[in-house]
Symmetry: C2
Subunit: 457 residues, 2 copies
């Protein structure tokens, strides 16, 4: 049995909480994506930082891979175990440890999900804005440098993680950052660890920046005659500096999927879904300015969601976009692409992507966080049809290459994992070697999430 | 002669642009602070990335220290050459290379100053907000992770540097980041290098995030009966989420210095200096809300600066605070402290600092970026009076220790350099060792700005 000594030592460390059952291993060996099953040898249900320290000491000793696990909503194979090892499941470390309402920050454990956090925060007048759609764990969101619908206004995990507790490969624990709003004290290790995908350490605590719940919220949808007109309206909005809290694009195919999946009654046309946060007066003023911009680009059929329930329904529908599109072709699997480009190149990138998909034999609704220049195509394939898989990968690869040619990035928010490894050389050149050097320094045995993010040789 | 071989090779690389004159070396061996003169062996006036690459190859070969130089406005001895070596003066690399107005970003060389950049941007409708007071170089500001008066609204260098070109210790050049608004593609090397104080590489290009010039700006000052009332008004403003563009505190002693140095007519009382950016309507609305908050804490004597010239005069006065305070005691030298604490601890930290100063034999006006929880005492000492120096260092040390005890940081924006080395262990613990590991990995010969930021053994 692979890693037998590790498993023996860990079963003593975590009595009753080290699972080697096939179902548990299989659950932790796949995620919501197209990667083949790559199960770990065991799943460790940790409960304390001390346990994570001891686990890493044991795994260092026996050179056994260690993969962090939050909720398994990664789309690029981050949680797969291509070399076996231990999946460290943080779902039992899901507490709020300290809410500092006056300072608008909160100390949490990594297994807490963003929705659970926001439910707990309701009475505080504060909220945590980063919103990748899925109800991901906050540790996983930090590890992936996630962002989402509200990033255009509030930033993503990069901007909203203030401090971390991290267990290093050798079991030592460090604190990075502090609770002040800024600091110039040495290397920004917090930023280095956010987005490191579990390859430099395991996050055991996070201090997150919170924001005041806005006094007024206004949300709605508006339809456009063409994708390009909708994208141009977004670009004009951003360039004018309008403080949109959300500005999301969905194409006609996504609108159709929403109608079928969620009982929406949208025109089969490109739409923007938007939200404004602020005082009553500022929201009203900015809503008017946004309407003017949309109308300039032919936007029509404005529908406003005045009631909280309506807004929740709108964003639930948006967040279920992936499932809605998936349901539009029963039995299909989805390859979700994810590129981010400078705003000036957004219309071009979306149009070319759309043309690529139209030329192919597969369908691929486009939607995204257009205010950031970040969008996705949800490419639907029959998992048993190799030519559809190839077609999807070709579209996905062309998107990433186009993004790089336009000065953007091969991933706006999903991360590298295994799926985007092939673009790292092209995107970073020699800087990818620097990343490998940092990795070697911090994890010389390469036990932390091997096979991800870094060059594999 | 120390480093003779390096000097010989460099004088061939940079004919007429390698200075070993005493005046040049002395100019580059001190900064605007209290450190003793520590001159480099030569000053290299570089003009291209290629020259910086060749310079670093030579300095690697001969293990000669290399210290980046922007404008010399560092306050913690960053530019001093305690081990000699080459000061790399970037003042000739001061061009704007590419303005992407649609994407609101700009590619610049590191020697360009923030004021020069903003003058060039005037016609574009955009501006670069980070504003540390001094007319620092943008490369130096990035290296120090600088921030300033507008950080409460726009963030500091951490938030506004999108991408870098960096020459590594061995002369290799890397690109970090990209022009998209966000990315999850691998380790955030840009953030690692911002704030690394020239110890990991030399910045040769920066891509900076710009912001739309606001439609309306309103600025002014308001007086308070006590420091604590003023600080409480700031805390309430931040906690309410009012989007202040600037919210600066000065105490009565600073107000007096302004009156004497800049001909101001301020009451000898604590004041807030503030600015709002936005649309006409939102600025008016927020100004009213801010007035209400101030009045709640006894704020009085509001003066509004409606005209651009008046606003410029107001912020010029603020930015010259250091010089105004320095002029209040002719012949004195200043030790400028710099701590940042969670907002909830701000009143306590300011009050205790004030009490420490009052108990001492020296004067030390207090001013700062209160919206970030960041403030400074400008401790005035007679450079020939050892007991005054000791008293100042004692106050400064107590401030830093208090900041750490309150969950803050020993430096909000001035950096570590040599001056704050003694707090790194206490602030970071084992994480400081991690920084040293990264440094060893990226600069194994320790030629990049040795003696700064990292443990010195």
């Amino acid at each position: 049995m692979r890693h037998a000594k590790t498993l023996e030592a860990l079963s003593q460390l975590l009595p009753g909480r080290l699972s080697t059952s096939k179902s548990d291993r299989n659950l932790h060996g796949r995620s919501e994506s197209y990667f083949d099953l790559m199960p770990p040898d065991a799943v460790a249900y940790v409960e304390t930082t001390q346990e994570v320290q001891n686990l890493l000491k044991i795994c260092s000793q026996f050179e056994c891979p260690v993969i962090g696990w939050g909720t398994g909503t990664s789309l690029e194979g981050h949680t797969s175990a291509p070399r076996g090892g231990i999946s460290v499941d943080f779902s039992r470390m899901n507490k709020i440890l300290q809410l500092n309402a006056e300072d608008m920050d909160v100390l949490v454990q990594p297994g807490l999900t963003r929705e659970a956090l926001n439910i707990e925060l309701r009475a505080s007048g504060l909220f945590f804005p980063v919103d990748p759609g899925a109800n991901a764990s906050l540790g996983g969101m930090a590890a992936t440098r996630a962002s989402g619908t509200t990033t255009v206004r509030y930033g993503g995990m990069r901007e909203n993680v203030k401090a971390l507790e991290v267990v290093l490969a050798d079991g030592q624990v460090i604190q990075t950052g502090n609770r002040a709003r800024k600091s110039s004290a040495g290397y920004d290790l917090t930023s280095l660890l956010v987005g490191s995908e579990g390859t430099l350490g395991l996050i055991t605590k996070l201090t997150l920046q919170l924001h005041p719940q806005p006094e007024a919220i206004s949300a709605g949808i508006v339809a456009f005659d063409s994708m390009q007109q909708a994208v141009k309206a977004v670009i004009a909005t951003i360039q004018m500096g309008l403080p949109m809290a959300r500005i999301e694009f969905v194409d006609g195919a996504t609108a159709q999927a929403f109608n079928e999946y969620a009982g929406a009654e949208m025109r089969i046309q490109p739409h923007l879904l938007f939200e404004l946060h602020g005082s009553d007066a500022s929201v009203a003023e900015n809503a008017e300015l946004f309407c003017d911009i949309c109308q300039e680009y032919g936007g029509a059929g404005f529908q406003w969601s005045a009631l909280p329930e309506e807004r929740t329904a709108l964003w639930t529908m948006r967040h279920n976009g992936y499932y809605a599109v998936l349901a539009s072709r029963p039995g299909a699997r989805a390859i979700v692409t994810d590129i981010c480009v400078p705003i000036s190149a957004l219309a071009h990138a979306v149009e070319e992507t759309h043309a690529d998909i139209a030329r192919s034999a597969i369908s691929g609704p486009i939607l995204g966080h257009m205010g950031d220049g970040n969008f996705h195509a949800i490419l639907l394939i029959d998992p048993d049809n190799a030519s559809e898989y190839r077609a999807a990968m070709q579209i996905s690869d062309r998107m990433a290459e186009r993004a790089l040619a336009l000065g953007g990035t091969c991933t706006g928010e999903h991360g590298i994992g295994m799926g985007k490894l092939k673009f790292m050389e092209q995107e970073h050149g020699l800087a990818w070697e620097v990343m490998r050097g940092l990795k070697r320094q911090m994890d010389p045995l390469n036990i932390l999430n091997p096979g991800k993010l870094l060059r594999q040789n």
